[in-house]
Amino acid sequence: MTRPAPDGPVDGPAPDGSVDAPVPGAPAPDGPASAAAAAPVLELRGAAHRYPHGPAVVEGIDLAVRPGRALALLGRNGSGKTTLLRLLTGSLRPTSGRLLCAGEEVRHDRRGLDRLRRTVQLVLQDPDDQLFSASVGQDVSFGPLNLGLPEDEVRARVDEALAALEITGLRDRPTHLLSFGQRKRAAIAGAVAMRPRALVLDEPTAGLDPQGTERLLGLLERLRGDGTTVVMATHDVDLALRWADDAALLTPAGLRTGDAGLLLGDPALLEDAGLRPTWAHAAADVLRAHGLLADGDPPPRTPQQLAHWARPTPAVGH
């Protein structure tokens, strides 16, 4: 993995000077977020990780996952997204620094991890890494059974998770006969059945077709509506902008966190993180340059939204 040297400090104010402007893409302050507790669900403080015999993959990471907010993690291949998600969910132990869960430090022993895993669940990129039982229903029941719940409760949780992911009809199907998108949803159902406060997904839309992606986003939105905090790693900048409240970008100079609309509108930062500019921001710039979009208004989030401006009476806003 060759990394370009960072071309200058990236910690200054956002170059478009819009720091004080109303934040595009952020939910209104009275959104579902404000109801939840104020302490971050998960927090890494000064965390670093190195794999045995390798250099440090991530270093000096400060990352807070705030309840009710959707967080997107972006970065180039090999920048350490998966590593960071594994740190956040306790699968890896930071070589230095700390992990806090709901404000309390997580001890990486059996009991500490047990507690953490009741709070946060990781969904891996490849669903086949998570599906190892013969049928979908069995697989989803694996986690709740390990929680030591009575059978009725396990059954209820499985039903609920399958319903949430809209795969109730697949309960008795063997996992290997499912399509990719179905397996993906079955894997998420396995995590959801643990009723985690936070759900962490590694590139959940990779390999899904655009409509499958839409559907998955809809499901995640529903889970958020039920109070689950969702974190995802992705390479798709436009998707992140559209979906996330907060963004975290892995750059060679370290992790940059902040409002998704602001960070993903900063071309230099995107370049540093191995990403490309978003269509949404480019379109918003064009619209603003021609007086079609007010300065404080959010950019169009999808091509469909952008197309509104091509209509005879441009619908400012949307």
């Binding site: 039982s133 013969a134 049928s135 063997p174 996992t175 290997h176």
Partner: protein
């Protein structure tokens, strides 16, 4: 447990290599024939070998609470037949010696003899015996894994006893010494491995993927299974 590098005196090392060689050569012939008749089987055999290697690298909890590695030779022998297991087991042992510093090159012959020859044959025999007595699949699988595991350790104990006879009581005393040490640790492990193998086979059966066709054809010689591959 493998015999470590340099543990056996030269004469013993050579003798055990000579004892294992015919089985491995026979296995290599069987494998070559298989590949010639069915070119696709190279990849299936590679997968089998990788499976055996990875299985032997798994950590499983033993009944006593300690952790250890399964030998995997019983399941391997039932799935892939003892001659092929002689080759795959040798490859596994070679990899363990060079990649994990487990076992060794001078002791390869002795380890092959116990783990890749005697263990698989004994496990396979146990499997066939239970099946012949109209036992159902799961007890047969348990018997295969348990027997393969245990005979491997018995042979290892004998090998060590031959190399290091007891100063006072000779071979018999040494056998009691090594066998005693292993019995404490290995009998529970063999039970664990047997149980686990049963669970694995049951899961494979439930998933209905046809992999178990291998097991069902083992009763009839020389029929190719659904994937037309390794079993012979």
């Amino acid at each position: 447990m493998h015999i470590a590098e340099g543990y056996l005196p030269p004469l013993h090392a050579v003798a055990w290599s000579a004892a294992a060689a015919p089985f491995v050569v026979h296995g290599a012939r069987a494998l070559t024939r298989e590949v010639r008749e069915n070119p696709g089987s190279t990849l299936m055999l590679g997968a089998s070998g990788a499976f055996v290697f990875v299985l032997s690298a798994l950590k499983i909890p033993s009944v006593t609470g300690s952790c250890s590695h399964p030998t995997g030779t019983g399941l391997g022998a039932v799935l892939f037949r003892p001659p092929v297991m002689a080759v795959l087991g040798t490859v596994t042992l070679l990899f363990q010696a060079l990649l994990l510093a487990h076992g060794g090159l001078t002791t390869l012959g002795a380890n092959v003899f116990s783990m890749a020859v005697v263990g698989p044959w004994a496990g396979y025999a146990a499997y066939r015996a239970v099946r012949a007595l109209r036992g159902s699949l799961m007890p047969a699988v348990f018997a295969a894994a348990f027997t393969a595991d245990l005979t491997t350790y018995c042979v290892t104990s004998a090998q060590l006893a031959l190399a290091f006879p007891d100063p006072a009581t000779g071979f018999a005393g040494a056998l009691a010494k090594f066998g005693g040490i292993f019995a404490v640790t290995q009998v529970p492990l063999a039970v664990s491995e047997g149980l686990l193998t049963v669970l694995v086979v049951r899961l494979l059966g439930q998933s209905g993927r046809g992999e178990l066709a291998r097991l069902d054809t083992t009763g009839r010689e020389d029929t190719t299974d659904a994937e037309g591959t390794v079993a012979r």
